[in-house]
């Protein structure tokens, strides 16, 4: 599954990088009749001013992927850090961090984005900043909740009893245990950020002069493509592209999860030896009680 995900993602990344070569036309040029149906020269037809949709789609991958990737990295790193630190250290640190998370989570995202778009201007950098700095809150809370459990587990307690520092424990014991959740969160965040970009573009809040999949859908909806046959070639492809990229992130996440924690491998229950004999069952103090 991971291979499939990686393959799809790679396909899109390649398309984004080599867009000028792959796209049959320059999407900024009007090369067809407005609302033209698909033809040999324009396999996906033309948009409302006569630009080739296939070329638009290919070029749009650049913006959508960039926004998705950057915001996701930003948010996941920040979220994991806050979640682990807060969940592990508890007490005042946790309280402050989590209350900060609460404040951010209580701010309605879309209105905030509208306000910020109005204040800062509708361009891509602001979009990335605002999305990234707001969506870390969710992963933080979730990761923290798992860290709460992990911190009580046997081997963490053992490590503390043996005198390990907080930092060491957080990095060497807690982090590996929460990595599956972090991976799930990475996937989720990529999902959310790409979707947010699309939703914001659809509502007309991002820069309509830039080509992104959300912007293509904005024009498609605004020019009534959903009511005409054009939905087939103008609406379906961008939506499918978004879905494909997000799904590929998901598959990757899934594979990542398996790789990191061999106990989660999709094999038959533990009574059969796992495929990797190099991972011994750790001895745990609590089983001796």
């Amino acid at each position: 599954m991971g291979r499939v995900g990686a393959a799809i993602l790679l396909l899109f990344v390649v398309a984004a990088i080599f867009a000028p070569i792959l796209a049959p036309h320059d999407p900024a040029l009007r090369t067809a009749q407005p609302f033209a149906a698909p033809s040999f020269a324009h396999p996906l037809g033309a948009n409302d001013v006569g630009q080739d949709i296939l070329s638009e789609l290919i070029f749009a991958s650049r913006l959508s992927l960039t926004v998705g990737f950057v915001t996701t990295c930003l948010a996941t790193i920040l979220g994991a850090a806050v979640g682990i630190v807060g969940g592990y250290l508890r007490g005042a640190v946790d309280a402050v961090l989590m209350r900060g998370v609460d404040v951010i989570l209580s701010l309605p995202f879309l209105p905030l984005m509208i306000v910020l778009a109005a204040f800062l201007g509708q361009n891509t950098t602001n979009l990335i900043l605002v999305i990234g700095l707001l969506i870390w809150a969710r992963p933080a809370r979730l990761i923290r909740s798992q860290v709460l459990s992990v911190r009580e587990s046997g081997h963490v307690q053992a490590a503390r009893a043996m005198g390990a520092t907080h930092g060491y424990i957080m990095f060497r014991h807690v982090l590996p245990r929460v990595t599956p959740l972090v991976a799930a969160q990475f996937v989720r965040t990529a999902n959310v950020s790409i979707m947010l970009e699309a939703s914001l573009a659809f509502l007309g809040l991002s820069d309509p002069f830039q080509k992104s999949w959300g912007a293509i859908l904005f024009y498609a909806n605004a020019r009534s493509a959903f009511l005409a046959d054009a939905w087939l070639w103008w609406v379906l492809p961008p939506g499918l592209c978004i879905a494909a990229v997000v799904v590929s992130f998901a598959f990757l996440g899934y594979a990542l999860e398996e790789r990191v924690d061999p106990r989660l491998r999709s094999s038959t229950p533990a009574s059969e030896p796992s495929g990797d004999p190099g991972t011994p069952m750790p001895v745990r103090e609590d089983t001796l009680r």
């Binding site: 407005p34 109005a118 309509p208 024009y219 605004a222 020019r223 009511l227």
Partner: protein
């Protein structure tokens, strides 16, 4: 025996023929007065919530407001874009020699929705209220253009208006545009903007229910002075999403939509069952405002060159798919009686020449001109909600690029756009003209100062002339002069006039009439006498001329009856002959 059989057989035949006659005669006559159709309920989808429909419940575009207000309130004369004033709440009006004092006679026997009598006091009160109170879309008629110094009720049905300066179009425009408010309610209202009760007017409909952001429900005013309206109940759900709105129309959930049909849907919508399209003649325009204080826009030559560098027809063809007309510097809408045709010259070479002469040249050969050492780069702000405006801006940017001027479009949310427009914080701004702005001169004259910040010494002189004109003809002449001036020094770049095509379900209601400046969704589509008063045909009258149809039917009836009679006579004759011949033919 046979004879008996034959004798018996003519009875059923007779019965049959008689039956045929009865059926034919009793079938309803078709054609005739289409407008006397009585419809119980109509569903009209509208695109935005416009508040509780008092004249003060303004909400920003899109959506229609004044036509909905017009369902509930009446004006003194029919509407402001007619050739001659058509009496409505007022029956006649006459002015003194220099058109500063008008005497208006009101209709008798009109009542408000709450039963109170409508009198001249209400009219006098209304004009004072508009003049002295907070502004709304109508108040400039009393407070600026013209200034109605006083409105006095001479008796129960006579009002005398006095204007500060000659106001020859008082009956044609002013009295035809302002909705009359009931004094007994509004004299206690301190802040009109917080008045949230349902409105009380004299109009053909009463607003029975208003659910914020969801729907309106209108009920017919059976005691309306022109008789009960043709539709008993009108419900108006508010549907902001255009796709949903037209989808609902297609599958019959609504009977019509107040949003004009976008160019790309006209073909497919027109093919849907029972859905018809009609051109509404609502005055629509898109133009670009200049900020004439921001260089190089402060130079008249530069503005003129911009005007010439834009290929308006290409915009109409690409963005509107041909459904519209290229803009003209005249500023008035081509369908308005005040319009003075001027050719918008599209001449990029000439534009380039003008720029060269003005010293704005491309000195470093990089394709863009410089002004005072800096490359010329203008920004234009457009509404992020309107893709047509966005696309237009992109195309205009390409066109201007070809004469070496860079145009950078910037899209803003409607709130920010509004604020920046009002604060004059822009270089160019896309603006959608409301019908009133380009339909009659009063709003235009007022807006030339407030909205368009137009200053031109020659215009000042013409404006003074306009204010001193004592007759409609004189004002018309001055307006034509002003529009000729606009060719040399345009107050704004008028890009195009989009067609305003509306769709309706013809099997639900077909009494719609397109009234210039108002579209089809207004009270006159529901008042049976209105088409005749206005001299406009309803959509039903256009599609099927009733006279021929009635004629056809009559002939058909005549033929059937004649045929039946002939058959009857023939049958009797034949039977008689058979019985006369007796049993000869029986022996076969």
């Amino acid at each position: 025996m046979v004879r008996g059989a034959l004798e018996r057989s003519w009875r059923p035949v007779l019965v049959f023929v008689l039956g045929l006659l009865i059926v034919v005669v009793s079938s309803p006559t078709a054609g005739g007065a289409q407008q006397s159709q009585q419809v119980e309920r109509l569903t009209i989808a509208t695109e935005a919530d416009k508040g509780n429909l008092t004249p003060y419940s303004f909400r920003p575009p899109p959506g229609i407001h004044s036509e909905l207000v017009g369902l509930v309130y009446d004006t003194l004369f029919l509407h402001p874009y007619t050739e001659e004033p058509i009496s409505w709440l007022a029956t006649e009006a006459s002015a003194n020699a220099d058109a500063t004092v008008w005497t208006v006679t009101l209709r008798d026997g009109v009542t408000w929705h709450d039963g109170e009598e409508f009198t001249a006091e209400d009219v006098a009160f209304t004009y004072d209220y508009y003049r002295d109170g907070p502004p709304n879309r109508y108040t400039h008629h009393a407070s600026e253009v013209p200034v109605v110094e006083s409105a006095e009720a001479l008796d129960a049905t006579t009002v005398e208006f006095t204007c500060e300066q000659p106001c020859p179009t008082l009956d044609l425009v002013t009295l035809a545009d302002l909705p009359i408010l009931p004094q007994h309610i509004w004299e206690d209202v301190e802040d009109p903007q917080t008045y949230t009760d349902l409105p009380v007017g004299t109009g053909p409909y009463r607003l029975a229910e208003y659910v914020e952001d969801q729907s309106y429900l209108f009920e017919a005013n059976e005691d309306y002075f022109l008789g009960p309206p043709a539709v008993g109940e009108i419900e108006m759900p508010i549907v902001p999403d255009p796709s949903s709105m037209f989808l609902a129309l297609q599958n019959g959930q609504v009977d019509t939509a107040t949003r004009p049909v976008p160019p790309e849907l006209q073909e497919s919508l027109g093919e849907a069952r029972d859905v018809e399209l009609v051109e509404g003649k609502r005055f629509a325009s898109i133009f670009y405002r200049f900020n004439a204080e921001s260089p190089p826009l402060d130079q008249q030559e530069f503005r003129r060159a911009l005007d010439m560098a834009v290929d308006r027809q290409a915009l109409v063809d690409t963005v509107l798919l041909g459904n519209g007309r290229a803009g003209s510097p005249s500023f008035m809408h081509p369908d308005s009686r005040w319009f003075e045709p001027q050719d918008a010259a599209f001449d990029p070479e000439q534009a380039g020449a003008i720029l060269d002469e003005a010293g704005i040249t491309d000195s470093d050969g990089d394709g863009s001109r410089e002004y005072e050492g800096e490359p010329v780069s203008l920004s234009i702000i457009v509404s992020a909600n309107d893709p047509l405006q966005i696309r237009t801006a992109e195309l205009v940017a390409q066109q201007l690029g070809e004469v070496g001027i860079e145009l950078v479009p910037e899209s803003l949310d409607p709130g920010t756009l509004s604020q920046r427009q009002n604060a004059l914080d822009f270089e160019l701004s896309s603006f959608q003209g409301v019908p009133h702005l380009i339909g009659d001169p009063t709003q235009m004259i007022e807006s030339l100062e407030s909205l368009l910040v137009y200053s031109n010494p020659e215009y000042e002189g013409l404006r003074e002339e306009w204010f001193q004109s004592t007759s409609v003809e004189q004002q018309g002449e001055t307006m034509r002069g002003i529009q000729r001036l606009f060719v040399e020094d345009p107050p704004a770049l008028t890009l195009y006039y989009p067609d305003t095509t509306y769709a309706y379900n013809s099997s639900a209601y077909d009494g719609w009439i397109p009234v210039e400046g108002h579209g089809i969704h207004h009270k006159w589509s529901f008042i049976p006498e209105a088409p005749e008063l206005l001299g406009i045909e309803t959509v039903a009258q256009r599609t099927a001329p009733p006279e021929e149809e009635t004629g056809g039917r009559t002939i058909l009836y005549a033929l059937v009856v004649a045929g039946a009679v002939v058959l009857l006579v023939l049958a009797i004759f034949l039977l008689r002959r058979r019985s006369a011949r007796g049993s000869d033919e029986d022996q076969i």
